[in-house]
Assembly symmetry: C2
Amino acid sequence: MTTPSEFSLIQHYFEQLTPQRDDVKLGIGDDCALLQCPSDHVLAVSIDTLVEGVHFFANVDVKSLGHKSLAVGLSDLAAMGAKPAWFTLALTLPKVDENWLADFSQGLAELANEHGIQLVGGDTTRGPLTISIQVHGFVKSKLALRRDGAKVADHIYVTGTVGDAGAALQLKLQKDTDRPELVEGWFDKLTMNGKKQTASLNNLDIDYLEQRLQQPTPRVEIGQKLQGLASSAIDISDGLLADLKHILDKSHVGAELDLEKLPLSPVLMKIENETARRLALTSGDDYELCFTISPDNSIKVEQLLAEQCQCIGVINNESGIITTQQHGKRVELKGIGYDHFTV
Amino acid sequence: MTTPSEFSLIQHYFEQLTPQRDDVKLGIGDDCALLQCPSDHVLAVSIDTLVEGVHFFANVDVKSLGHKSLAVGLSDLAAMGAKPAWFTLALTLPKVDENWLADFSQGLAELANEHGIQLVGGDTTRGPLTISIQVHGFVKSKLALRRDGAKVADHIYVTGTVGDAGAALQLKLQKDTDRPELVEGWFDKLTMNGKKQTASLNNLDIDYLEQRLQQPTPRVEIGQKLQGLASSAIDISDGLLADLKHILDKSHVGAELDLEKLPLSPVLMKIENETARRLALTSGDDYELCFTISPDNSIKVEQLLAEQCQCIGVINNESGIITTQQHGKRVELKGIGYDHFTV
């Protein structure tokens, strides 16, 4: 494959940016990297791709894009309870733009250093802007957090708050583009005062939401703390209902969620309640963790994680997800594609 | 990241196509795959991207594309002397086309089965056609074939024949496109009889060249046989001179190549000799191995590999590459970018 030398040189640009680990026997610059896996752990790997115009806007903040490109992979390691070790980067660029590379690599390197994960290899090619990152981490096989272990009566938890990234995306879609993904009227409900709205968002609020969309925080430490405690876990990339549904499918169980317990950020609590709940349940990109804990372990987990997680429901032996409020009163969720989530 | 469900379903399409290995503790369908590395080996990893319109034509044979997408990674494992184990696939598609997926996955699966390598994870997204594959293999750390071990007086070898894929690319560029990459007049030299040409190529010849371009054979077994014997190795993806140059740079040595020893296929021997040599030295995509062997090990390697490799030169303590013919008479290589390869 003939590669312009300027593209080969990019590799050197990234080479020293991330932590230098002792278990990397050979890093960037040969046909393969050579990596030493600890013998008492298994290797956890995940690959994710971000495509311009699909996963991010062309006018995205480039440093944030570097952060997010790695964050989505770290979030997968978190959801497995794995400790980050190495990553590879396949970067397809329309042209070599040094400013772009400087910003992108800075965002990438800052998050990599925070989590002690080293860039060990990659490929840089010319083409439409596309970023694929594979992350590698370690976890003891028996302690890994899988999707298939949820049991009836387990409590369902979610970390942080949900719906923020989705709110930011809706605002950006209306502001930046004329794309039809915008659900009609959401923008008004999110930002404007009026008869149907409860509050308006100020610039600080909007900055907060954008930060949540563009620079998500992978819950890597929480994932590792849940080893041996959580019966199942997943990260919320597609939306709480959709991702919880993956756990239910793999574990052959159902769930009951208490809508009043959904953890909403102070900003999301400012907007119309129905809209906020809809975002919390269905919008993706939050990169929080959803996990299940046996009743016996619940108190321990709540002590361990303090304010970092919220119990939102319970696993049952039904199929699909039912939602309740006001002490168990069943609520139908209309118009948010809930039907898709019934088994 | 909201992913259309049809795209998620593609994962299931690929799930059972490749070998099922015992060291895969958890495969496709969770946040990460969980993989058991052998404790006495290191993990060799490499990621490569193919982009439509850059690395392959839009009218490429799709089954061959599946083969080649994996072959380029297997070739990296071969160049390291590593044994293939697992791969991941990040596939970006403009639309879900079942015929395309059937052909692509068939080409991929056939080569995967041949080498016992299992697909353990992936990501499928919407966007311009882009294929990133990361391969994973095992090699004993001390036996890995690196680029930095070539010593003065080592013999330089190349497997198979070189230049075939480059010839096919030139023919396709002139036939299929009006792209300016075509070096003026190459097509005539490759295909037509006339005063300046020595032979013409028939359809079988052209089929052979296209097969070499579109379905390269990664030299995985040869790479493993070279463990503990080769002092350095690389796979030829950018062209023999360019890739040999990587060995020389990393090993701080020079090389002398005998142009008369370049291994040319019977088809390439039909065309004008200067053109054939130029292709053999500078065109990429052959995915043969170039490696160095100490004089003491040379006889052993030639016995071991029989007709599978050819000695083409020797490592010296100069800088860069010099080329000779007729028993050591130095030859200047004009007009093929040779200057780029002088240190």
